[in-house]
Assembly symmetry: C2
DNA sequence: CTGAAAGCGCTTACAG
DNA sequence: CTGAAAGCGCTTACAG
């Protein structure tokens, strides 16, 4: 990166008139007290003067501790993930760790390739936001004793730490809210059932509103929400309220309601899920279940860090509270 | 990460009955033809059987090529940056590189610390989305011949490659659009003037609408936009159109317009800048200048990659086209 | 308290 | 075409 080779520990040692082993000890806070204070000071000064930057790569090779973890997400441009990633980064950084972030776009082959690339960079563990309920790659990872935790979604595998939102409670709150507004014809636009969030939210909906219409969306996207909402209104035209699998699906539903010449919340109320950024600025402002995404990321990082420190510790699952946030997309039934 | 030590090149070599140097050559596509085809095959099979994953760290130490670059952004949860980062990641990945992403939160000390940490991880160069017009850290980086490019914003330093939007043209389009709607009392809520985007957009505005009101915002945030819009209406209550420094500032202006009992676009038209995700779903849907952020990131990565390949190549600046996107927040003057 | 030596897992000029 | 050796920049048990 620079023309004249970056200074090494040996350069510093020579400048301070000591052996590089001593320089190493002086510069590492954990071993600094093994060297005479005056010597240590001389070394520190020399290091600063030369602009010495320790080579983390070399240290990692020697100690096999890279202070890096891999983070798998579906797609950074999905508004759900930036706050989660930020939470991960913040907590990791507090502990001197770095995140290596990759997008899988929901593509299994791509995920495998990225996973291998991250392993070749010797990350110490993984934070996985791409978990599916059945997940061959993660099954193998467990078998190979690779440290990882999942966030937002969980995998149906014992012994995997996870941080998830209390989706069952969130959906229950959403249904109760709609009921309190007088709605009785409530439908669910369910998320993909191969994801834990999709399955848990659907089950909670069925429990809260037995024998109500359900249409499954192919993905957590606006387009999928639009398709599903189309089907819903074809078969259940008298629906007055929708619990959407997430905010993007809700956006799709909103578009369909509008396209059919009806209005939200006057004719149909809609509740989203996640409280994505700027959901309060939408037209109409979206009533939705808030999930603490930054906290989710931070706790996920915390769990992994604990795992790395003590691989034998029991796998914890952290359930984060969901909170219904009432805005303009829900109103009393007419 | 696993209990039984991960297999090394030496393990593979032994399994295949060759020297590790030969195994190295066989497994590296660039040197594979230096070894007899049959031998190479045997080695490949052994590698796969053992589940060998090359140690990028060790390779990096030996070759001093880490295939990693540092990416500096203000804050990942600012909706401007995910598409830029995604563009960077995508292009980098195509070239076998990885991005190490850090947030600075606009804090200079933090930026310095992160920069040093990234250097200690021996990134080969930097993609900087945090550039200020005067930027001591970047000035030093130039002096130390560190490879870097800026994206979105530029630094007033010669020889630094940059990818920026055509902000002057974007603002010119915005003003022309408002003029065509009959507006004559047009104001600018300018971005921070220590950033190139803030300065360029302001200059273009002053050129397009000489002696029109301008209020500078302290930051590219909704809160700053609210404050600035408050000042604007205090002094220029008859303003009928606003060109906002960016979409977040526009959102602040919208809130103030509403709070003053007036309505957008009926009483005041507002044009944003950036076309942030979901700007079309806002109330009202935001007329704004679209900037190709994914492309911006991709080109930034491309520029850096070229720089790394040929450090002597001249510093290019790429100007990406801006395109006014008319939606619901602008209307004919009453 | 400090030094000398070994070694982390690779790659690559140098021999043969 | 393959092997033996050196070395990338560190850390750390082992001596002294």
């Amino acid at each position: 990166m620079t023309h004249d080779r970056a200074p090494t520990l040996d350069d510093v040692a020579r400048a301070a008139g000591v052996h590089k082993a001593t320089a190493s000890r002086a510069l590492n806070p954990a071993t600094r007290d093994q060297v005479r204070a005056e010597t240590a000071r001389r070394i520190t000064v020399a290091a600063r003067r030369l602009g010495y930057v320790p080579n983390t790569i070399a240290r990692g090779l020697r100690t096999s501790r890279t202070a890096a973890v891999g983070v798998l997400i579906p797609d950074l441009t999905n508004p759900l993930f930036p706050p989660i990633v930020r939470g991960i980064q913040d907590r990791l950084e507090q502990n001197g760790y770095t995140a290596l972030l990759v997008n899988t776009d929901g593509d299994e082959a791509r995920e495998r390739a990225e996973f291998a690339a991250l392993r070749s960079r010797r990350v110490e563990g993984f934070i996985v936001a791409t978990a599916r309920r059945r997940h061959p790659l993660l099954t193998e990872a467990v078998r190979e004793q690779i440290s990882f935790v999942t966030v937002n979604r969980s995998v149906e595998l014992p012994g995997v730490p996870a941080v998830v939102g209390d989706d069952a409670d969130g959906v229950t709150q959403a249904v109760a809210h709609l009921r309190s507004l007088g709605h009785t014809r409530i439908a669910h636009l369910a998320g993909p059932q191969d994801l834990s969030t999709g399955a848990v939210r659907l089950r909670a909906f069925q429990h809260a509103a037995p024998s109500s219409p359900v249409v499954e969306c192919a993905a957590y996207t606006e387009a999928a929400g639009r398709t599903a909402a189309g089907h819903l209104f074809e078969h259940f035209a008298d629906t007055t309220a929708i619990v959407a699998g997430n905010d993007l699906i809700a956006l799709g539903a909103l578009a369909v309601i509008c396209a059919r010449g009806r209005s939200c919340p006057r004719d149909v109320s809609v509740v989203g899920y996640n409280d994505m950024p700027f959901a309060d600025r939408f037209r109409p402002p979206l009533t939705t279940v808030h999930v603490p995404h930054h906290e989710m990321g931070a706790q996920g990082a915390q769990l992994l860090l604990e795992r790395l420190r003590d691989p034998g510790s029991p796998a914890r699952t952290v359930l984060l509270p969901a909170r219904l946030t009432v805005r303009g997309s829900t109103a009393p039934v007419r």
